[in-house]
């Protein structure tokens, strides 16, 4: 191929880098090769057949806000729809449904993710925390308190996602400066523009040094 026209690797580069042309088992490939053959066989069968009958619904077991849930869901159901429609946990919001706004942010195994782009079946066996799971009984989570104290919202639609993201932002260690907070909260859009107060709330929690 002509490197000028296709913007592909020029030939002489190949010579400079003979490593490209040799093929060696990498550590990760070795790991696969070492999987017990019975296991591999079982897995192949699992992939290849038997699933036709569950085309419609599949079992889903997950822990939501500390409670084990055993559900039956369509493979196409997103975690957001399952939370809202099957479990009546309507705190997580559907702002855009396409990963663009952050209103549906929840934690899976402690990490913030977008529930609108997560297939429910892929959460099987995992722990989900939603905004409903943050408070301890009547005692609000420090981040919830801080959002109230600093007026971190107007209409409130983006707020559950903002708070879930804010908690993760502090836990991840990405709340050390206003600039860092803004960058690491950029996945949560607020149509009312409550950003300055959201940043203040997060700074307050971070500086307070409370466990979040």
């Amino acid at each position: 191929m002509d490197s000028k026209n296709h913007n592909t690797t020029p030939k002489e580069d190949e010579k400079e880098n003979p490593r490209r042309t040799f093929l060696k088992q990498t550590s990760l490939l070795t790991a696969i090769a070492m999987a017990p053959s019975a296991l591999v066989k079982a897995a192949e069968n699992h992939v290849d057949d038997k699933i036709a009958d569950v085309f419609e619904k599949m079992p889903l077991k997950m822990e939501v806000n500390g409670q084990l849930q055993s559900l039956s869901v369509e493979p196409r159901a997103t975690l957001l729809d399952i939370l809202r429609e099957q479990l009546d946990l309507t705190g997580s919001k559907k702002g855009c449904d396409y990963g663009q706004c952050g209103a549906c942010t929840v934690h899976i195994d402690g990490q913030r993710v977008l529930s609108c782009l997560t297939l429910g079946v892929m959460v099987n066996g995992k722990k989900v925390t939603t905004i409903e799971g943050l408070a301890k009984g009547d005692q609000l989570h420090p981040m919830q308190e801080a959002f109230i104290k600093h007026d971190g919202f107007q209409c409130g639609y983006c707020t559950p996602g903002q708070i879930m993201s804010a908690v993760a932002c502090v836990r991840e260690g990405h709340a050390d400066s206003e600039a860092e907070i803004r960058e690491f909260m950029s996945g949560n859009i607020c149509r009312c523009g409550a950003y300055p107060n959201i940043v203040k709330a997060i700074q307050d929690v971070k500086e307070g040094g409370l466990t979040v």
Binding site: N7, P10, S27, A168, G187
Partner: protein, 328 residues
């Protein structure tokens, strides 16, 4: 969204076998695939979930960094080996998407993400990439985000990834598995230009799986920079981006790597510019000359002419920062 069958892969071989059946697709983070399925841009009959396969490791061995396909974009960007050996990759990843998306997105999924061209996304409009031979809506339409290099009559879409721009600059190799075993491909030969087959973004066969990538060690760590220009400060795709990696010693550029994003159907390596930089001392006049050369052959459409100036200035600025002439 159309109904589909969901299976959990137990092995790489199982995935390859499953992919032999038409209408089957891999799902990893799901951040691009689920989006496209909701919009009806793609409608697989069966999804193979690969997220339980042991392909997450990041390890340094014998002169290279291996990153498994399932290493999350967030994990890779924060990984200490990556930050130490390949800071350019970390910078590019952090410039992409949002923290929530990076917590889901994988290396292979990022490489395989489709274009964000509005005509590709809107199933009521023509798009040769989505529906071969239906025409390109962007060419005569709203093409502000579109390519200025390597376009064809059939397609002027850009590849949207930030990560891939850094990987193209860093001489990365892609490790792929298929029916016939494993093969390796230079990252710069992974994605393709649209040509007559814009429906194909890259050279991965339908029944192949990306296992991971390898980045050779280099001397670029102290002089690497990823500059991304977008419509808002964060959480937006690049209008133009530039990845620069320089090996500078005693005030002379020994070796250089440059690639641009947001300008072509694949990460756009600037091979001639790299050659022209080698052996020279960093200076603004040199960088201006490099940028002029880099824009040769650029072709704008009705709404994206601004990209030529923008890309040129971005190249100069990224080189200035990477070489230490100005702070980031």
């Amino acid at each position: 969204m159309k109904q589909f069958e969901y299976v959990k892969a137990g092995s790489t071989q199982g995935v390859i076998n499953a992919l032999a059946q038409p209408g089957t697709k891999i799902i990893a983070g799901g951040t691009n695939l689920v989006d496209l399925m909701k919009r009806g841009v793609t409608a697989p009959d069966k999804l193979v979930d690969i997220t339980h396969l042991p392909l997450k490791d990041i390890t340094a061995t014998s002169g290279r960094l291996h990153i498994g396909t399932l290493a999350l974009n967030s994990i890779v960007s924060e990984n200490s080996l990556v930050q130490k050996k390949q800071p350019l990759l970390s910078m590019a990843l952090k410039a992409g998407a949002s923290p929530q998306l990076r917590n889901m997105a994988t290396v292979g999924g990022n490489m395989m993400q489709r274009t964000r061209c509005g005509y590709f996304y809107d199933t009521t409009l023509p798009c040769n990439k989505r529906q071969p031979e239906s025409g390109c809506g962007a060419k005569e339409g709203y093409n502000r985000m579109h390519a200025i290099f390597g376009t064809s009559e059939k397609c002027i879409a850009v590849h949207p990834s930030d990560m891939c721009v850094a990987l193209a600059a860093l001489d990365t190799t892609v490790i792929i598995a298929g029916k016939k075993g494993e093969r390796k491909l230079a990252f710069t030969d992974f994605h393709k230009l649209p040509g007559d087959t814009p429906e194909l973004d890259n050279h991965l066969a339908k029944d192949e799986i990306i296992l991971g990538i390898e980045i050779p060690d280099n001397n670029f760590a102290d002089h690497s920079y990823y500059l991304k220009i977008r419509d808002r400060q964060s959480y937006a795709f690049a209008l133009v981006s530039v990845a620069v990696a320089l090996d500078i010693s005693n005030g002379v550029i020994r070796s250089a790597r440059l690639a641009m994003g947001g300008v072509a159907h694949k990460p756009w390596r600037l091979y001639d510019a790299e050659k022209a930089l080698a052996g020279k001392q960093p200076s603004v006049p040199l960088f201006e000359q490099i940028a002029r050369g880099a824009m040769q052959g650029a072709k704008a459409y009705q709404h994206n002419e601004f990209k030529i100036n923008l890309a040129s200035n971005a190249v100069i600025q990224a080189l200035k920062v990477a070489s230490g002439l100005v702070p980031a």
